[in-house]
Amino acid sequence: MQELVKRAIPLSTNHAIANAVKDLDVDVISAYPITPQTTVVEKISEFIAKGELDAEYIHVESEHSALSAAISASLTGARAFTATASQGFALMHEMLHIASGLRAPVVMSVAMRSLSAPISIWNDQSDLFNARDSGWIIIFAHTAQEAYDTVIQSYKIAEDHNVLLPVMVGYDGYVMSHTIEPVITEDKEKVLKFAPKKQYPYKLDPDKPVSIGSITPPEYYYEFKYQQVKAINGSLPIIEKTDEDFGKTFGRSYGLMECYMCEDADSLIMTNASYASTLKAFLPEIRKQGLNVGLLRLRVYRPFPLQKFIEYTSDKKNLLVIDRAISYGAPYQGPLANEISGAMVRSGLKLNLISVVTGIGQRTVEFEDFLALARLAHEGRKHEETIFYGVRE
């Protein structure tokens, strides 16, 4: 076999993220264990225990407190991190909005998992899509390497004084969180040179007191929300530049959205995280079966890179959007498909949009299933309803 990967070490995505936290010299980690996030916080604890990371670890009693403490730590001037999934993520929900509202540059990793009830510990993306309107920058990673790299990029983005927004990095629970794969980790000094600590400009400091978290009457509140609109929209070029600069420094970059084997494709399948990496592996075989299909990988989700989307899809016939979350009772019952239909109207795209929900609760999707979905995209029939692929009727 060829020797392809240089310097790589075997890491799960969870451990890759823990390594990023170490290499970023994060000051405060505040987290509560939840499956399948746990090995992130276990590994971080181990780094601190061994003296490889100098940080305060707050063993909070809930995810609500985990994010609360991360927010206040970051507003005191520290670099703060937390990680969560599923029910814990849902428990944080109030604080998600507060983090973005207070403009706290917190970074959080999300090992995406389904939501109760009934309880399922397995992967889908209900938790993250439930939080898409919380004002966070949201980036999906499709490999452990990308997760490591994206956490590093995230701090540079979040702490940029023109951004000052929290960032969440989403990846699939178990399928990525617990999978060992090659990851190149970087030298800490080089990482910190790329993403030097930038303290919050209005931090809690007795020498220059501020009041953070005021009650804001109707004549002011709207303007603060509009500031958030401007900040997240304005972050898009900063996210893009950060990724480009990362590429120049470390030799790896990902773009805002990835179009894979798609220049010559008539039809695209839009998906993210583990489905994207799996589809990349399957596409050559799918092409061999005469299906002229490519992959449109969703990476930066908030802010949505609309221009990239238009660029990649304007000459395509069919776009099959895979959702691994359900927007119950919505026009399309996949949250992403709903948004894409809006993006199409806004930009006058005449794609045939096919909305597919699948992989709910980690229902296995195998090669044959991807092949079937590729066929659906390739055939290009109209499907008015969201297709619940793989469900037993």
Partner: protein, 106 residues
């Protein structure tokens, strides 16, 4: 009413970067009654200054000599801009040196 500014001129997140500006927010017009301190009978015990929730009893480095020739280094006054007229100072005054009178009278 304060001038309302564009979103670009506000620090993010509802953060007040110049705390202490509450002095622009006069709460004194809430009151109907205002305390009047009798400097003659006042014993300078500082209780009224202590209890006032609004910091509206002011302790001044102003000497005062009573008619009975008792000398005090300080005097107490009421900051009408912030006194809400609750009357707690008068109620707690051990020598009844504070009287609550209608604002118009004062």
């Amino acid at each position: 009413m304060e001038k309302l500014v564009s979103y670009t001129e506000m620090a993010p997140g509802g953060i007040v970067v110049n705390p202490g500006n509450s002095l622009e927010y006069k709460t004194g017009d809430w009151k109907v009654l205002i305390p009047v301190i009798n400097q003659e009978t006042c014993t300078r015990c500082r209780i009224c200054w202590y209890v006032c929730p609004d910091n509206a009893i002011i302790e001044l480095d102003k000497e005062y000599t009573t008619k009975k020739n008792r000398k005090y280094k300080v005097s107490y006054d009421v900051n009408s801009d912030f006194c809400k007229g609750c009357g707690m100072c008068a109620q707690e005054c051990p020598v009844k040196a504070i009287e609550m009178v209608p604002v118009e009278v004062a």
